[in-house]
Symmetry: C2
Subunit: 176 residues, 2 copies
């Protein structure tokens, strides 16, 4: 495997850090600007009636209001499954009897180490949302099949949401 | 729409910049750390025999060797389609008679503004790869159906590649 022969810290942030690594790979030596992130949990909350809960919110990076499935960065020391349970309750106010991982992926591995872990959440019970002041979210409940159709028609513009819905549909189709 | 009331530049990089914006949204005022990136083109190069070209390379951010479809950051002033044509030739050494956009998405819109534009490339003609010294790539040609199966079995760990393959399969299935 290639070897990191030098590293320079650029920025120590709240959500991510930035560093420049120098890498030796075979005969080549090159630099990479890297964003370091703890990873994220993504949840597809699926009810017995086949509907899912999604969230609509302003995303400043995108300068758009996006429709997404619930998700959030992992806290320090947290496993992806613990993060999924926490985000499910904080963001939309539910607990799940069952959380099963259905996909995992990097989102931009050329410079960002963030890995996302997608969970299908079933056996949902309503508790209470606990949002931060900067989380201004509208919650929507729609049939999974409608959400998948929206993704397939190009009406959802978030990679984790598209993949979460497609993999949730595959997982449930295999069981029915 | 929410309003940006202050912005502070943190880092001016080669692939991305970093800034902190202060946003006013309704009654709330909050900060966001933002990675600014020009966006990326993603290409699914599909041959008449139903095979696709993929690339295997060490990704330092992931510290893994990943199997991906060809992709790259847009150059300044370049459209996504121009970027797709350029990357197709540079990275794997092909030109395409036809490039059609089949998907677009943000990859981590909580803090990263990178949007990816996915193109299906057909009518492929071999030219010459033009790799940089830091692009150490193995090219593989496999049936699209096999690649889709790998994505569905969780053997591909890159979001753009998973979505690119699934949308390429949908697009070609609708036509046959």
């Amino acid at each position: 495997m290639p070897e990191t022969i030098a590293t320079k810290k650029i920025y120590d942030g709240r959500i991510f850090d930035v560093r420049i690594d120098t890498i030796r790979e075979g005969e080549a030596e090159y630099e990479r600007e890297i964003i370091s992130h703890r990873g994220s949990s993504v949840i597809v909350p699926l009810f017995d009636d086949g509907s899912v809960v999604m969230v609509r919110q302003y995303r400043h990076a995108a300068k758009e209001i996006l429709l997404e499935v619930p998700a959030g960065s992992l806290d320090e020391g947290e496993t992806p499954m613990e993060g999924a349970a926490r985000e499910l309750e904080e963001e939309i106010g539910y607990t799940a009897d069952k959380l099963e991982q259905i996909a995992e992926f990097y989102v931009s591995p050329g410079f960002l180490d963030e890995k996302m872990f997608v969970f299908l959440a079933t056996g949902l019970t309503k508790t209470e949302q606990r949002l931060e002041i900067d989380e201004i979210i509208e919650v929507e409940q729609i049939p999974l099949t409608d959400a998948v159709d929206m993704a397939n028609r190009g009406e959802i513009h978030d990679a984790k949401t598209m993949l979460g819905l497609l993999f949730a549909a595959r997982t449930t189709a295999k069981r029915s």
